[in-house]
Symmetry: C2
Subunit: 407 residues, 2 copies
C-alpha cells in the first residue's frame, strides 16, 4: 500500500455566507488548498467531493464533475461521496484509497455545504432526519436533536454526571472558536452573556446561570439547550493528497495520513447494545490506531464531532482518551482544553467553528494539519505531532476516524 | 496494486416494481450477489452503494450504512457514491480502489434506484436536469432529452446519417432485451407493432413505418421519439469484489477487472470542442485499455450507455470500435448485433433492460460477467473473453469505462 501525505489545505470562513453559493465555497476551499500545496501547474488525477444534500439544499447534482470544470482540473476523475454528516471523512478515505492503490498520485478532496439560505422552518432538520430509520424512527417524528437529548439524559443518569459538565464542553469550544479566524462564532459564551447583559436582557452571576436562562438559552431537546447544539453553517474545506514518496517535492511539512478506519452500527438506535457507547467509533478508531501502529496515549490533539456537546464527551471515551462515563467530567476538569492532557477541538469544534455538514470531516483534518505544522496561531497545541478525528454519520451508525502524524 | 476479481453478481428484475422500495431492491441484488459468490459466512470489509437521488425519490439518506445493517454486514465500512447516472460505475471504481489499495479484501458494490412510483409529472426529468449547468443551461429549461435531440440532429447532418439507423439501435436492443429475463421490456419492437395492429390502432408495412407513427411513437425531443429514449425503471444490481489472489477460493470462474478509467469534460455542453465527440469517454476508455494492456480490437462484447439511442452510436465510435461518424451505420448494418463484429448491449441496454439510474453501471458489468462466464443464455456472445463498458454521467461530462476479462 502506498503511503499518503497531505501537502495542502484550504478552508473558507464558516458561517452565514450570504454572498456565496455551494460551488463558490467548494471552489474557494479547493483553490486555497491547491495554492498551499504548490501544485497549481500539475495535473490532478482525481477529485472527491463530500457533501450531504446539495440536491435538496442547492438544487444541483453532479457537483464533483462541475467543480473539476470550474477550477480547471479537467479531465480529472470526479466523484461525489455521500455519508450524511460524515461525507467529508468518507471523501478523504476515498481519496486516500485512490493514492494508496496507485491509481492516483495527486488527489483533491473537498467537503462543503451551503445551508443558511434555507428559510423554510424545519427543512434542514427534516432533511437530516432522513438519516434515521424510515419505519422505526422517522415516521414517529424522531430527529437527530431528539436522539441527542435522549443520549444526554441517559448519560447523566447512568454515570452520575452533571449537565453543567456538558455545558463546559460548549464553553471550551466557544473559547477555542474565538481564537479561530475561520470559525462561525468568534465570541466566547462569556462574551454572549456580557452582550445580553449590556442590552438589558438579564443579569447573571456566572456563565452557568446564564446557560440555565430559558430566554437566552432555550431548550432544544430536553435537557439540551441552544448552546449545547451546533449551528447550521455554510463553508468548505479541502485537502491536497499526494503519494508520500513525492510529497517532499511540494511541501516542507507534509503530514502523513497513517491511519484510516470506518465502521457501521445498527441503523435503529434502539437496537444498540448500549446507547451511551458508540460502537462504530470504537471499531473505526481501533482500525486507525492499528494501521498507524499508535495508541490513544500517542495522540496529542483530536478533532471530535460535537454536533451536540454530549457527543464530544462520549466520543472522547470511545476513542480511548477516557474511561467510560469519565468524558464529561474530564472536560469539566479542563483536561480537554488547549494545554490540557488531551486537547479536543482546538478549532472550536462543530459548536463554534460551525457545521456545514459535508465540510466538517475535512475541516477536522485541516485543523490537525495546521496543528501539526505549528500553524494554528493562538490556538496552537504545543509540540503536537499526532492527531486523530471522529467524523460521525447518521446518529452514529457510520463513523470514520482518521489519524495523521508528522512525517 | 493488488488485482481485483468479481466473484459474485446479483441483478433484480428491472421494470415497474410496485411492491419494492429502494432498500428492498438494494438488499435483493446484494443478497443474490453474496449467494453467487459463496461468501455468505464471510466478513465484508466495505460496501459501496451507487444511487443518484434516493433523498429526492425515496426520502431516505445514509443508504449505504442502512443497507449494511439490513443485510447483516455490520460493522463493514459503508459509503454512498453519487455520480448521476454513472453512480454505479463510480461505486465499482471505489470498490476497486478499496481492494487494489489493500485496505479491503472483500467488498460489496451495489447500484440501484426506485423511480416509477413518482407520479408528479416532470419530477424525474427535472431532478435529472439538476446535472446540467444551473446558469448556462438549467435555468433556460434545457433537459437531458433536449441535449440528446440536439446531438442527434447534429450527428445526422454532420455524418450524413439517417434517423432510421438510430432506430435500428433501438430495434436491436429491444430484440436483445426480449432474450433477457431481467429486462424491463421483454418484447421486440415488432411485437409492439403487432400488438398495436391487433388492437386496431394502425396498420404498418414495416417496423420503420411504425416508428414514424406520431400516435404510436410520439416525438420526445425532435427528432427523437419515444422508442429512441430509455424508460424510467426500478431495479438494482450488485457485484462481490475480491482480492484476485483469493478469488479462486470462492469461484471457479472469477472475472478480472483489468482496466478502470474515468474522466471529466466541460460542464457546459456548448463549451465542448465537438458536440458529437465524447471526449471524456475517449480519455476514460483509453485509460482502461492502457491499464489492461488491451485495444478495442481485443474486445468481444460491450455494454454502452444508450439512455438515448444516439449515445450508443457515438459511444461505439469514441470507445474505439468504429471510425467517427460510422457508429450508426455500423448498427444499421448489423455489426453490433449478437453474432456481429462487436456485439453491443446484448442485455438490451438502457433502452430495453431499463435504466434505474444508479443501477445501470453495475448492471452493465453484471451482464459482462454473465457473458464471460458463458451464462448469458439465449443472448450469449459466443466465446466472449473480454468486455468493456461506458457508464455516462451528466450529459457526458463524467464518464467511466470498466474493462473485464476472464482470469
Amino acid at each position: 500500500m502506498k503511503k499518503v501525505a497531505i501537502i495542502g489545505v484550504g478552508h473558507t470562513k464558516f458561517g452565514r455566507l450570504q454572498d456565496k453559493g455551494l460551488m463558490d465555497l467548494l471552489s474557494d476551499a479547493s483553490l486555497k488548498a491547491i495554492e498551499d500545496s504548490n501544485t497549481s501547474d500539475k495535473d490532478f488525477d482525481s477529485v472527491y467531493v463530500g457533501a450531504m444534500s446539495p440536491a435538496a439544499f442547492n438544487n444541483i447534482s453532479g457537483i464533483a464533475s462541475a467543480l473539476v470544470d470550474r477550477i480547471s482540473l479537467l479531465p480529472a476523475a470526479a466523484d461525489h461521496i455521500k455519508n450524511g454528516p460524515a461525507s467529508g471523512g468518507s471523501a478523504i478515505k476515498a481519496g486516500f484509497q485512490a493514492i494508496a492503490s496507485g491509481m492516483s498520485d495527486l488527489v483533491l478532496v473537498v467537503g462543503g455545504e451551503k445551508m443558511t439560505h434555507i428559510t423554510t422552518p424545519g427543512f434542514v432538520t427534516s432533511n437530516v432526519a432522513t438519516l434515521t430509520h424510515p419505519e422505526a424512527e422517522k415516521k414517529h417524528g424522531v430527529s437527530l436533536p431528539a436522539f441527542a437529548g435522549l443520549l444526554t439524559r441517559t448519560y447523566l443518569e447512568k454515570y452520575n454526571a452533571k449537565l453543567e459538565w456538558i455545558s463546559d464542553i460548549a464553553i471550551k469550544n466557544h473559547k477555542n472558536g474565538a481564537l479561530n479566524p475561520n470559525a462561525h462564532f468568534q465570541r466566547t459564551l462569556e462574551d454572549f452573556m456580557r452582550s445580553a447583559s449590556e442590552k438589558g436582557k438579564g443579569n447573571w452571576d456566572n456563565i452557568h446561570e446564564f446557560l440555565r436562562d430559558d430566554d437566552r438559552n432555550p431548550i432544544i431537546a430536553d435537557p439540551l439547550r441552544l448552546f449545547h447544539v451546533c449551528p447550521i453553517s455554510d463553508g468548505a474545506a479541502a485537502l491536497v493528497l499526494c503519494n508520500a514518496e513525492k510529497a517532499k517535492q511540494y511541501s516542507d511539512t507534509p503530514i502523513l495520513i497513517s491511519g484510516v478506519g470506518q465502521a457501521t452500527e445498527t441503523h435503529i438506535v434502539f437496537e444498540r447494545e448500549d446507547l451511551t457507547t458508540l460502537k462504530a467509533l470504537k471499531i473505526a478508531s481501533n482500525k486507525a490506531y492499528k494501521m498507524a501502529k499508535k495508541t490513544p496515549e500517542d495522540i496529542d490533539v483530536a478533532e471530535l464531532h460535537d454536533a451536540f456537546e454530549i457527543l464530544e464527551a462520549v466520543q472522547s471515551e470511545d476513542i480511548g482518551f477516557f474511561a467510560k462515563g469519565e468524558g464529561a467530567k474530564a472536560a469539566h476538569e479542563g483536561l480537554t482544553e488547549i494545554g490540557g492532557k488531551i486537547p479536543i477541538n482546538p478549532s472550536g469544534g462543530l459548536k463554534a467553528r460551525g457545521h456545514p455538514l459535508g465540510a466538517t470531516g475535512v475541516a477536522q483534518v485541516v485543523e490537525l494539519v495546521w496543528q501539526l505544522r505549528g500553524e494554528a496561531g493562538k490556538r496552537q497545541v504545543n509540540g503536537a505531532k499526532t492527531g486523530i478525528t471522529c467524523n460521525f454519520g447518521g446518529f452514529g451508525n457510520n463513523i470514520i476516524s482518521i489519524l495523521v502524524e508528522k512525517m
